[in-house]
């Protein structure tokens, strides 16, 4: 090859051994190696999730049934919210690549503009994830119910609003005739879990008994998720029959017939491991996004102060860009395997 490519090599590109393997700088290659190792971590986590799902005996939660809410708008929007989150992250990846492109033209203002856009997109994503988690933890208004035959079902439909509790029997805090209008949903769910609701009469914390004034539930539907002696997985039970079966469980006086939301021990959506993998994988990804935003802020400050301009190149922006795109890349897989498939 002598005589073919006699080039002046930028001395700062050369590594300690006075060559430049793969014609790339040391920093960039190490960033790639780090990303490969991080990709192996996420790959391992997602494969572990796949393992659990393939050997699970109970029905696995279905994305469009589990994630169908929007902030302020309620239920009935399957997957729209996560799609929006995905879109936000893709867009922030685009603004990042535009920052790198501006860097190649030594356009300092362009780099700053696109990096700030990227940081804003990152914050939006982290915020969306916080909402998603909060929603996942608190769960639906109906929860998951264990029916009389031992089968378990998730519940869809419109939960009739609770208007107030009318105290019929005095307890420590409430007198007969009191009308309670605060914290209704919380107290109601608490009583349901404790098995302290019977035919519209709730036993409150202080031992008083009250009549629950509640609008009727509408379009109720039970979707069986765990086999019982009568109902089998995949059965849909609708309207009045669904309502009867649901309230039969609530009125049974047995605690824990209904489970709301998710924690590390149980969740209303499906097998216990589902909740744990959800928290760990989306949490670990969210942690990566958060770190990415912090790194982007630090590098952006470097750009503003002109550090990289003086250096003559914006390779630092390129390297943080690699990390940021990687975070987007991981989300593409999390999105598919947690929400779609």
């Amino acid at each position: 090859m002598a005589g073919h490519a006699s080039n002046q090599i930028d001395a700062s590109t050369l590594w300690g051994g006075k060559i430049s393997p793969f014609s790339t700088s040391y920093g960039k290659l190490m960033m790639w190696f780090f990303l490969v190792s991080d990709a192996l971590t996420f790959g391992g986590l997602l494969v572990a999730y796949g393992y659990t799902r393939h050997d699970a005996q109970d029905a696995w939660p279905i994305g469009e049934e589990t994630f169908n809410s929007l902030p302020f708008l309620g239920h009935g929007y399957p997957l729209i919210y996560v799609a929006l989150m995905t879109f936000i992250l893709i867009v922030s990846s685009v603004t990042m690549v535009l920052a790198v492109e501006a860097g190649h033209r030594m356009d300092k203002k362009g780099v700053i503009k696109w990096m700030i856009a990227t940081i804003i997109g990152g914050f939006f994503f982290v915020g969306s994830q916080a909402w998603e988690w909060s929603h996942f933890i608190h769960g639906s208004e109906f929860g998951k119910v264990e029916l009389a035959d031992g089968s378990q079902a998730i519940v869809k439909g419109h939960f009739g609003e609770i208007k107030n509790f009318e105290v019929l029997e005095a307890g420590k805090h409430h007198k007969k005739g009191d009308v309670i209008t605060e914290d209704l949903m919380h107290q109601f769910q608490h009583a349901v879990v404790a098995g302290k609701i019977n035919n519209g009469i709730i036993t409150l914390h202080d031992g008083s008994k009250a009549k629950v004034n509640k609008a009727a539930d509408e379009h109720m539907e039970l979707i069986i998720k765990k086999d019982g002696s009568v109902n089998k997985v995949g059965t849909h039970i609708k309207d009045q029959k669904a309502c009867d079966m649901y309230y039969e469980a609530i009125n049974s006086g047995t605690p824990r017939k209904v489970i709301y939301g998710a924690n590390l021990e149980e969740n209303e959506y499906g097998p216990q491991q589902y909740g744990q993998f959800f928290f760990f994988i989306t949490g670990f990804h969210g942690f990566h996004v958060f770190s990415g935003v912090m790194i982007n802020i630090i590098i952006c400050l470097g750009v503003v102060s002109g550090t990289y301009h003086k250096r003559g190149h914006y390779e630092m922006v390129e390297k943080t860009g690699l990390y940021w795109h990687f975070v987007d890349l991981v989300w593409v897989f999390v999105f598919t395997f947690f929400y779609l498939v």
């Binding site: 793969f22 490969v36 050997d55 593409v332 929400y339």
Partner: protein, 122 residues
């Protein structure tokens, strides 16, 4: 320092205004494509039930679309497509070999364990 065994490379891989325009056009094209794929995925997920006969086809199309998205992100956004061939292979080949092995072995094992529970388990 003069070298004739290294292909030209320098940290300041600058490009001109015109080249920038072409690059930006490509970026926006890829953005539109990634967005379109995501919309198709959500529409399929929302309208085709897992109990329907078309589901196995939909499931595999999700996985293919994901790989397509991932390919565009890695090759265009992360510029791996512009790197030297040797670097591309050093990054991609070991990863894919290992992941293909891991996915195969774990899912086969999980399915077998699942069947064992179904047959003999409590």
């Amino acid at each position: 320092m003069l070298r004739d065994d290294v292909i030209e490379y320098s940290l300041d891989t600058h490009h001109s205004e015109e080249q920038g325009k072409a690059i930006r056009k490509k970026i926006w094209m890829v953005t539109a494509l990634l967005t379109a794929i995501t919309i198709v995925e959500v529409a399929l997920g929302a309208f085709i039930k897992q109990s329907s006969g078309a589901w196995p086809f939909v499931k595999w199309s999700f996985i293919l679309m994901t790989l397509l998205k991932a390919g565009y992100i890695v090759l265009v956004f992360m510029h791996l497509g512009d790197e030297k061939k040797s670097l591309k292979y050093v990054i991609l080949v070991p990863y894919f070999l290992f992941m293909a092995y891991l996915i195969f072995i774990c899912l086969m094992e999980a399915t077998a364990v699942g069947h064992a529970w179904e047959t003999y388990g409590g």
